[in-house]
């Protein structure tokens, strides 16, 4: 049998067979050959039907994704202005030197790398190594960064050589330049590359690994406003990754701008004033805040020492470490992130609370003999002495405030007992703590800056749970004058003063006044936000304001007086730390006040970590208010 099922033993019939059969065999062979041709093309057609018709759609998609690359377009970041429209930051180009590996000729690599070395002071071996690695990668058309942050001179020199060094490129990336540098570093903050910790969260919001994001300050709080909407270009790329054409542009929407309530001119001057007072008082840290008492807008906020936020563009580990090691903690905004005993500035709360509680009125007289003594509850032989700063004699309410008598306020808060008999009824620690909290102490203010501290307002329950001891009358006395366990930020204290000044509105302080579009049109204007209204009558607040006016007019804060504008204020000298011997302590200097006394517009607080309220803080407060009211008429 042969292959074709015939009986012949050979495909070619033997000679003796008939001619006819021979022809028949051949015809059959050709028939099967024709069949073979049709089968071959049939099989190929079936496979093509499968690929092109049944799976065609899937392959079409693969062909599209093959050649389509979506390249992100970073939006221009929003600009930040001061309240007068002065730009505080600009987006400027940063130059880097890069090399496109695919265009960098391999055979001239050594020579060209040496030319780049001469230009950029980067070792030629490093350049060659980097380029070789990238050339072998899947994406040889993406430039390799040879040196970041080159000077504009270097950039010009490199650009001139771009034609003679194929593949060399000046790469331009936008960075933030803060025109005001350290004067506003605590407010504006800075932007930095997305960190590994931030990436998982930010990636869901469309951030790329190399994006920059606000890391602190306004840049961080208003990141979503400033960033804008990233765009993307659908780019057609060839097999080696070279961009052929842009198929579709989805332009980026630039970030919105911010107008701050801050006044740059005032900020600069306040910084200078505080700097001077700091060196006069020997302080390591100092703060000053000026706030609009009706709106809560922050007009100036200075925390010293400060730092230049521009260095964060390309900060070295060494620079960062030295900022961390500085005893003044320059990276901290002490105005909102550090808490201190507020000292006598706390008497604003004690005084207004006592008036409201009815334990005091303008005619309430108390005599200070220089101290008040309290026997130990269990062992009367032990006697605690609570000193006044001077034996001030008999005072009414205004005099007590004006002279900042500690004894006067001890009694308003804790009462006065002699041999177990209550000679004067005080408001009590719980009531005082309640008023303190009504003023916003012991809680963050809600200002639009990060890392705000809450401070501490103690009460008997707090002491029991935190310290494990019972509250004593001494604790109440200490609390009455802002000592002991009381801690507050300078921002919280200026907020207290603003509430006293404006008739009882506890305001949410604000740094940003409005969000504006690129043409300067206001998108979201600032609306004053009142956190709460004090449970204290306007009349009682007016009484305390009169006390503060007298403090400047003839009392402890008289060094804060400003010619032509009546200032009302309260000093504070808050002791802290260990006994330096003989019952003396290191002290912080405070002043908080407002002006004009009869029609309050602004409140100001100053804090110096070393000094005396009357001697160091009040003059600084006066200087700031003087500048605020008189800068336009040359005084």
């Amino acid at each position: 049998m042969d292959l074709l099922g015939r009986k012949e033993r050979r495909w070619r019939s033997p000679k003796e067979k008939e001619e006819r059969s021979d022809k028949q065999v051949l015809r059959d062979k050709f028939f099967y050959f024709r069949l073979l041709i049709l089968i071959v093309f049939g099989v190929m057609t079936l496979q093509l039907l499968r690929l092109q018709i049944f799976q065609g759609q899937a392959y079409e998609l693969r062909a599209e994704t093959n050649s389509l690359r979506v390249s992100p377009v970073t939006p221009a970041r929003g600009i930040i202005f001061d309240r007068n429209g002065t730009p505080l930051v600009e987006n400027i180009p940063e130059f880097s030197a890069g090399v496109v590996p695919a265009d960098f000729p391999k055979d001239r690599e050594a020579d060209l790398s040496r030319q780049l070395e001469a230009l950029l002071q980067v070792p030629a071996a490093d350049i060659t190594a980097k380029v070789d690695v990238a050339r072998a990668s899947k994406d040889p058309f993406t430039p390799v960064i040879i040196k970041e942050g080159i000077s504009s001179d270097e950039a010009f020199a490199l650009r001139e050589r771009e034609s003679s060094i194929p593949g060399a490129q000046v790469i331009v990336t936008p960075i933030r330049h803060y025109t005001t540098g350290d004067v506003l570093s605590h407010i504006l903050g800075y932007v930095g590359q997305v960190t590994a910790d931030q990436y998982p969260d930010l990636a869901t919001k469309g951030y790329q690994m190399n994006d920059r994001v606000g890391q602190t300050g306004i840049e961080s709080v208003y990141e979503s406003v400033l960033r804008g909407q990233p765009g993307s270009n659908d780019v057609e790329v060839d097999a080696s990754g070279r961009e052929m054409q842009t198929l579709k542009e989805n332009p980026a929407t630039p970030g919105a701008g911010l107008v701050l309530s801050l006044d740059l001119d005032l900020q600069k001057h306040v910084t200078d004033f505080v700097q001077q007072a700091m060196s006069d008082s020997g302080s390591t840290t100092a703060c000053a805040i000026v706030m609009d008492v009706h709106t809560g807008e922050i007009l100036s906020m200075v925390s010293l020492p400060n730092y230049d936020n521009n260095i964060f563009t390309n900060i070295t580990q060494q620079q960062y470490q030295s900022l961390l090691d500085d005893p003044g903690k320059p990276l901290l905004n002490h105005c909102i992130s550090s808490v201190y005993p507020p000292g006598s500035t706390f008497k604003q709360i004690t005084g207004t609370g006592a008036l409201q509680e009815g334990v005091a009125n303008p005619g309430t007289t108390i005599t200070s003999t220089g101290s008040i003594t309290v026997p130990n509850e269990y062992d009367p032989s032990i006697v605690y002495v609570f000193k006044d700063w001077s034996a001030l004699g008999t005072m009414n309410f205004y005099q007590g405030v004006a002279q900042s008598s500690d004894v006067y306020f001890y009694e308003l808060a804790g009462g006065y007992y002699q041999n177990g008999v209550e000679l004067f009824h005080g408001m009590g620690a719980d009531a005082l703590a309640r008023y303190a909290r009504a003023y916003g102490l012991g809680a963050t203010s809600g200002i639009d800056l990060p890392d705000e501290a809450a401070g501490t307002i103690p009460d008997p329950d707090w002491k029991k749970s935190q310290i494990g001891e019972d509250w004593t009358i001494g604790d109440t006395y200490n609390m009455a004058i802002g000592q002991g366990f009381v801690e507050a930020t300078p921002l919280q204290m200026v907020r207290v003063t603003a509430a006293v000044a404006n008739g009882g509105d506890v305001l949410v302080p604000r740094i940003v006044r409005s969000v504006v579009d690129s043409t300067g049109k206001s998108l979201f204007p600032f609306v004053p936000n009142i956190a709460s209204h004090l449970p204290i009558s306007p009349d009682n607040l007016a009484i305390f304001r009169e006390g503060m006016r007298q403090a400047v007019a003839w009392g402890t804060a008289s060094t804060a007086a400003v010619p032509g504008v009546e200032v009302a204020g309260k000093t504070g000298t808050a002791e802290y730390g260990p006994d330096l011997g003989g019952g003396t302590y290191a002290s912080h200097a405070w002043f908080t006040g407002f002006a004009p006394a009869n029609d309050p517009q602004v409140a100001a607080v100053v804090f110096l970590d070393n000094g005396n309220g009357a001697k160091n803080a009040a003059p600084l407060g006066g200087q700031i208010l003087n500048y605020y009211f008189h800068r336009n008429n040359g005084q």
Binding site: M1, D2, L3, R9, R10, W11, R12, S13, K15, L26, R27, K29, F30, F33, R34, L36, I37, L38, V40, F41, V43, M44, T45, Q47, L48, L49, L51, Q52, I53, Q55, G56, Q57, A58, Y59, E60, R62, A63, E64, N66, S67, K138, E236, V237, D238, A239, S240, M244
Partner: protein, 373 residues
């Protein structure tokens, strides 16, 4: 014996020529499109692959007419020398050839790269046809069978060493077709096929180069290394599949124009067709090939002498397998091996050989009578 006067104009197979010319025209369109990414539209006209292909086609057609006038039996008498020439050219390319994509297939001849394996395949067809036609009486003998196999195996070994697996397979296919058509014993053929099937896996491992093994591995799983050796296979598949029914339009294939296809004017030109002209274009191509091949077989079947019949059969097998292997590589039916698509792929060696082969076919058809001399 007086020779019968041949009426060339009347006997000439115009359908065969027209099918071939239609294929060349289609090929030129695809070469034009496929060469856009590397040549652009405005470069030196003389250097352009399209111009070169047109020139080769004109030379080819001229050669075809020339060869068709020569009585094909003349080639039979020169068979011995043609065989020597085929072996010499293959040896030559092995020694001094230029390695392209890992194999030595090309020699430089007067500034033009020449691929001798194309012409060698045609020469082997002539030699085998002549050898077996002369031994029609002794087709049952094992010695004739084995000798014919040796005649085929020597050039096969040489192209395999280049290495050119595809051409080696085509040479074996040519031998098989001619030997069956000539009337070899079924036992011989089946016995050989059987033992080859058993020995093949071992032989492959022993003889194949890493390059060939890698290609086989890639064929079996192109997704394994999509950017490495599997790249071409995968991209060819994507190109063809994405063409769908009507294709993306000539010069509008993204795969072709963005260089995702490699050697898109030669080995992977079928993928350009699939992508840009779609399934419809593929069917047109196949129809043209079927017409061409059927005309070849028609000539073979109508030939009255064994040499002419075997010659035409061999040429038909040569073209058929050349098409099958090239398209098969593109659509992942056979492992990757570089074989030009007849009449379509850019390249003078292949085109000239094919037109000479068609000339011989025409000669077989026109010289059906006794020799003219």
């Amino acid at each position: 014996m007086r020779a019968a006067k041949v009426n060339y104009a009347k006997e000439f197979d115009y359908i065969l020529l027209l099918a071939a010319l239609a294929l060349v025209a289609l090929g030129i369109l695809l070469i034009y499109s496929g060469s856009l990414p590397s040549y652009g539209s405005a470069s030196s006209v003389i250097e352009h692959p399209v111009a070169r292909q047109i020139a080769f086609a004109m030379v080819g057609v001229a050669a075809m007419f020339g060869v068709s006038r020569v009585d094909y039996r003349l080639w039979g008498y020169a068979a011995k020398w043609l065989f020597v020439a085929a072996l010499a050219s293959l040896l030559f390319v092995l020694v001094i050839g230029q390695a392209v994509y890992g194999s030595r297939r090309w020699i430089e001849l007067a500034g033009t790269p020449v691929q001798p394996s194309e012409m060698a395949k045609l020469l082997v067809v002539i030699v085998l046809a002549k050898y077996l036609a002369d031994r029609q009486e002794r087709m049952g003998s094992a010695s004739v069978f084995v000798t014919s196999l040796v005649i085929a195996l020597v050039p096969t070994a040489l192209v395999f060493a280049e290495p050119d697996l595809g051409s080696a397979i085509i040479l074996i296919a040519i031998w098989l077709a001619i030997v069956i058509m000539a009337g070899a014993r079924a036992t011989h053929v089946l016995g050989l096929i059987g033992s080859a099937a058993v020995a093949a896996p071992f032989a492959l491992i022993a003889v194949m180069s890493n390059y060939q093994r890698e290609r086989i591995a890639t064929f079996l799983d192109p997704g394994k290394d999509p950017l490495g050796s599997g790249f071409n296979t995968l991209q060819a598949q994507i190109s063809i599949g994405s063409g769908r029914l009507f294709g993306k339009g000539l010069t509008h294939g993204t795969q072709t124009q963005l260089d995702y296809l490699r050697t898109q004017t030669t080995d992977y030109i079928f993928s350009v067709l699939g992508e840009e002209l779609g399934f419809v274009g593929v069917v047109i191509l196949f129809a043209l090939f079927i017409v061409l091949l059927m005309r070849c077989l028609q000539t073979a079947a109508s030939s009255r002498d064994p040499f002419g019949r075997l010659l035409a059969t061999g040429i038909c097998t040569y073209i058929l397998f050349q098409v099958f292997i090239n398209v098969g590589v593109n659509i992942r039916l056979v492992p990757v091996t570089g074989i030009p698509l007849p009449f379509i792929s850019q390249g003078g060696s292949s085109l000239l050989t094919l037109f000479i082969a068609l000339g011989i076919l025409e000669s077989v058809r026109m010289h059906r009578g006794p020799p003219e001399w």
